[in-house]
Symmetry: C2
Subunit: 230 residues, 2 copies
């Protein structure tokens, strides 16, 4: 049994949930509001960020990339064809490159500003940065979503899945970040058919179901969010 300190809209936490779901590993979720800087949470992860995975007998495992490496080292070999990290060195480089692309770059340029402005700020006190969403931040982030979507579309046209023939961490990372902002209606799917078709395939996997069924009170999901044939 794992415990994940997460936020339902933290895109990197969504990535970890998808990975554990693909591996059929049981998970208890603890919602953490990182902006409250809870002391017991900072003791687990001094960086104060989600996700943090707790596995029995291990130090707390902070961050999407580190959790992915941990899961590969402890469970990857036993997963056979379902392993989310390929075994060849060259393919591992590409999967790690794309994991970092989405968990770091897409996060910084698009998913984190959108989720922060539209969701987190609702729950923050004024002194923590709460308040009305900043229109200029949202505008810049939405422009970035468009170029990322085109990159995903290009990858999806070139390959079966984003990093190659099979589903890997790269697909889960991209889909996790997209899912958080798709809830908010911030993904212009009409702009890229290839990206949309790839996302529809990933979204229809059983590991995705728990994400799609969680709604936030007062913030209804976009028309495309739950619909598998959006």
């Amino acid at each position: 049994m794992f415990t994940l300190f997460h936020h339902p809209f933290c895109p990197q936490s969504r990535f970890v949930r998808l990975a554990l779901g693909e591996y059929g590993l049981d998970l208890r979720l603890v919602e953490e509001r990182t902006w409250e800087r809870r002391e017991a949470f900072l003791a687990l992860n001094p960086a104060g960020t989600t996700p943090v995975l707790i596995a029995e007998g291990r130090p707390a495992i902070p961050g999407a990339g580190i959790i992915a490496e941990y899961l590969d080292e402890t469970h990857g070999a036993g997963m056979g064809e379902r392993r989310l990290m390929p075994t060849s060195i060259g393919e591992r480089i590409e999967v790690r490159r794309l994991m970092a692309w989405f968990n770091d770059k897409f996060f910084e340029e698009a998913s984190n500003p959108l989720v922060t402005e539209r969701i987190y700020k609702r729950f923050m006190d004024e002194q923590d940065g709460g308040g009305a969403p900043a229109a200029d931040v949202i505008r810049a982030a939405k422009a970035n979503v468009r170029y990322h979507l085109a990159y995903i579309g290009w990858l999806a046209k070139t390959r079966n899945y984003l990093a190659g023939d099979r589903l890997t961490y790269a697909d889960l990372a991209a889909a996790a970040h997209l899912s958080a902002i798709d809830y908010l209606g911030d993904v212009p799917w009409v702009e890229d058919d290839a990206a949309k078709a790839w996302y529809a395939r990933v979204k229809s996997r059983p590991s995705f179901r728990p994400l799609l069924s969680e709604w936030l009170a007062g913030v209804p999901a976009s028309r495309t969010y739950v619909d598998l044939d959006f």
Copy 2:
């Protein structure tokens, strides 16, 4: 023979140089000015960032963390006691946590703003963001250096090296970022004796020599930079 696309003041590139140096691996350096967004470089790494390591017969390997994993997978097992990533799962989590702490968090909060303002901006055209250093950015980054230095000091007091008994990637990451800003005189060593003593040990390693001998025309190194007994 490896080729590294780097900048002499890119702290993450310095980390990679230290790691290759510790493993005794030969390296050819190519200086990349990422703000020029050279097309051939973007083809190697669409993210447009240094470091990028080229190893024969492999796809280009972008980013300090991905390069560290690559080196561990291809050379780690043969390095015995000198391996920079421990073999036990728990210690690997801690080394990866601290690698990310320095290569991501320290980079974002301290080393990258200082190097950008004080070095890169000298070489940038006005349209790329060149010009005079922004005093408020430097002030904020220097304040962040102080809390990071205290954290390093705390780790160094608790353990022999930052992640445990032996030298690991964690030490090289911390030392690489500190070295870039120590050149600029931006590390208040007097504030933390334990951090200073730990850094003096790491800095005296042969892998550090190439970094210490490179000076930038027009920007003299600080008094503490080359002196091993600073």
